[in-house]
Symmetry: C2
Subunit: 360 residues, 2 copies
């Protein structure tokens, strides 16, 4: 049973005395048969907690610098209309008492804590976002990661790997961006996809009749889950691990890339769709950046001189991470040029940077 947590805040233009505010509010709590405890705050204003029936808890603070905060916790099964009335009564009374001194009144949507389906998936720069997920469709731990698929009213099924939103069925924009946003023709080309277990790139690309697509994804369980639950993304392409112009190898990409380098095999396009911090069975990664650079370096080595490498970068707000990534590009064994573009992927709720890289 989830806990609903309401907040109601009054930001004031000047400090207020709790003696002129609190007494007017007490009757509202008493009407709800809530028991007050006043706490000693050592000069930080009034702090009262009110405990009521059914596990209800309210906290009223009149902060000494001009802020009044109210918290109200209740269980999901509680009489929500009654609690709305309680908050309405507090808001109305506070508006009256603080009249002329109010800079902002903020009453946020209730935080729902401990719900069956988790709807809070923060942005990369750690901002709070509440999604509209209503069902856990699939969850399993593979040998490599935790895999979840949740259903959203707006975004369809959403693939979440290690609690990081990967791709939703609404996100064709992502797939188009990592394929170069319609500026490339894949007909007759040799393509290597790193990762891509959701099948989105593969499904879109085979429509263009490339010569051969090789996709390397480490996690069979991701492929199986997406084959079943992400069909708006992958269509029927994951139903078979090989087709006329594609093959899916369920393998760690690093040793395969090394083998291609040794054999001198090259590709017209390399598309790196690995998770932000790629998973590997290799023991040699000293740091995330070194490992990222290893994959980048191997990818550029198997790239045809006139080929292109596409990858997702990071959230637009992660300026330091983006700068570090671009520094890695300067440290490769072969000099490269790059460009980037910012794309709005529906389910991400933050702007995302995609890179194009080529051999100089």
């Amino acid at each position: 049973m989830a806990l609903r947590h309401y907040t109601l805040d009054f930001k004031l233009s000047t400090a207020v005395d709790s003696a002129t505010t609190v007494p007017h509010l007490l009757s509202i709590f008493h009407e709800q048969e809530m028991t007050e405890t006043v706490h000693e705050t050592n000069g930080h204003g009034y702090l009262g907690t009110f405990v009521g029936k059914n596990g209800r808890l309210a906290i009223l603070r009149v902060h000494s610098h001009g802020l009044v905060t109210v918290d109200l916790q209740c269980y999901e099964e509680d009489n929500i209309a009654q609690l709305d009335n309680l908050l309405n009564a507090l808001e109305t009374k506070l508006k009256m008492i603080l009249n002329g001194n109010i800079t902002r009144i903020k009453r946020l949507p209730a935080l729902v804590r401990g719900a069956e389906v988790d709807r809070y998936w923060p942005t990369t720069d750690d901002r709070l976002l509440e999604y509209d997920m209503d069902q856990l469709v699939y969850e399993e731990d593979s040998p490599y990661q935790n895999i979840k698929i949740l259903h959203s009213q707006q975004y369809g099924n959403v693939l979440i790997l290690d609690d990081d939103i990967n791709l939703a069925e609404s996100d064709l924009t992502y797939t188009q961006a990592i394929m170069g946003n319609g500026r490339e023709s894949y007909a007759g080309k040799e393509v290597l996809i790193l990762g891509g277990g959701d099948g989105g790139i593969l499904f879109e690309m085979v429509k263009q009749k490339p010569k051969m697509i090789t996709m390397l994804d480490i996690d069979q369980k991701v492929i199986d889950a997406c084959k079943k639950y992400m069909r708006r993304t992958c269509g029927n392409i994951l139903d078979s691990l090989e087709g006329d112009c594609y093959q899916i190898l369920v393998e760690d990409c690093v040793p395969v890339l090394r083998k291609y380098v040794q054999e001198g095999k090259t590709f017209d396009y390399v598309i790196n769709d690995l998770t932000a911090i790629p998973i590997s069975t290799e023991p040699e990664e000293d740091s995330t950046w070194e490992f990222l650079r290893l994959i980048l370096d191997l990818s550029i080595k198997v790239l045809h001189p006139s080929g292109k490498y596409f990858t997702q970068g990071n959230a637009q707000t992660m300026t330091e991470a983006l700068r570090l990534y671009e520094e890695q590009l300067k440290k490769l064994s072969c000099p490269v040029g790059f460009s980037k573009e910012v794309v709005c992927v529906p389910s991400y709720l933050e702007q995302w940077v995609f890179y194009s890289v080529w051999k100089k």
Copy 2:
């Protein structure tokens, strides 16, 4: 001075006894010199409040049905690293105590309450969203509405009318959608824009050399604010209220529409870019829907028989509101057909429905 509010929740597979959990945690609060008060909950588990120095408040609840919640409030100027350590210590200890019984651990980004710049702008269906706004660029109350422009790192300047996000400089997608997503040619056409004070539609449309665009917006202050602070959206088009192929009339659209109907004037395109609940100086609106239908009806009346009417609808999640809107379309004095499409507007953080309407 803002209040930071942290939460840490453990969802459990079975209920736990507070006697086996709480005593292990108390030392963590005592180390921070926080004073415990235990509250009587009438069978709803353990509820302890802990008040510390600098206005710190912690709440620990061991709910009787298998949920442990921790709240921690502190001021923005407090030692955040120390509070992170406190939460880390609680998380580590709880993981140990509850081992084998944990369904989910959730530690959300802190809610910042009473900050100078408000970053919480919920979705239309009342979900909590934290934006990356960092500056209040402009705020004024016009005779019609509260106008705010906030700066966001990702979205540029964001126009907010009566606390509703209207348009950001990143949102060319919105303007393209309400112009028919590139399927129309405006060259040589007569166009009427209702609202549109941000200048986005006007700026994009004049590029196509229409015969004449008439824009009716009620609020001079919105136009002035956007002219100054939304230039990525409006370019220089609002610098003058008229140009070669456009005129901006700062007027309530209803009487002007009535006059056009009387005169028998028609337009090839009518684009309704009014705010979701349009503002009017007319006294006759009995209800929002009746008023919406009045504008719709007048708009269709001034539409050329082969013309098109475009408008934004609502969030995709607002299925009932969308259904009611489509019902209004069936009640017009002239029968119409319509189609809709769902568009991802970067700053909205929810999928948005746009309508095309035509005379049957």
